[in-house]
Symmetry: C2
């Protein structure tokens, strides 16, 4: 049972790492996502994955900055306890808006240099139009999900 879960977690981590996430970050995230406990300590995760404390520290810092996990105060324990955040996935998706902004800015930059009437300028205008459209729609889309779940939950 626990073995199956651990296996599913490692499989999921492998998939994620093929989509750009660092391997260790993906594995730690999967461990916290698939655990039957509410929280896990760095030591517990490290033992389960068989990796060093240094690797844990980096991955946990990463995930915390991404807003996927959080440190939970644990009275009577000297260890840091980590937990998957409630809105982790919506937060992660929102972070991708940063990429949309970068794309829009890069296109604008290019148009300035190429000239709006040139072939490159036209091409870059298409790009800018698409990304500014996405940038205007995505936040509302995510907001609608947040509203929906806060009502029913």
């Amino acid at each position: 049972m626990t073995d199956d879960l651990t296996h599913a977690a490692e499989h999921f981590a492998l998939t994620l790492s093929q989509y750009g996430l660092q391997r260790m970050t993906a594995r730690v995230m999967a461990a916290l996502l698939f655990t039957q406990q509410d929280t896990m300590t760095a030591g517990e995760i490290g033992a389960q994955l068989g990796v060093s404390s240094g690797a844990m520290s980096g991955a946990l810092k990463n995930l915390t900055e991404l807003g996927m996990i959080e440190k939970v105060p644990a009275p009577g324990s000297r260890r840091d306890h980590f937990r998957f955040r409630d809105s982790a996935w919506a937060t992660l998706m929102s972070k991708q808006n940063t990429a949309l902004t970068l794309m829009t800015e890069a296109a604008d930059e290019g148009i300035k240099v190429a000239g709006a009437d040139s072939p490159a300028g036209q091409r870059l205008a298409d790009m800018r139009d698409f990304y500014s459209y996405m940038l205007s729609e995505m936040p509302a889309l995510i907001e609608r999900w947040r509203t929906r779940t806060s009502q029913s939950g």
Copy 2:
């Protein structure tokens, strides 16, 4: 002038490669995006970037599979001519739906193993709900953009 454009292209490629795209793929894409010509041959791109034909072949294959660029028949030329596709960005965004599907499936898989009522099962259900929401909304969002631009363009 051309130098500025080339510089903007390389800068853009560097940014993209920090967001998970392979470096060479990003550079070739940027070259085709920022060029003032309608099409470029593999040789032209290779010369401009100072890279080998082998690297070109791989990157062009990559971009073609992604749906970002296309081969253009060029009568009287033995070389392949490549061009940025009109709907490249919308296509690219649509491809990310594959990732959404994978996430949804991984969550379902986990719920089966963990049990829907368990802590892990609850956590995974949150994940599945979010990604199936995104999966149901994204295609419509992109379709709306396609419709909008085909009307005005």
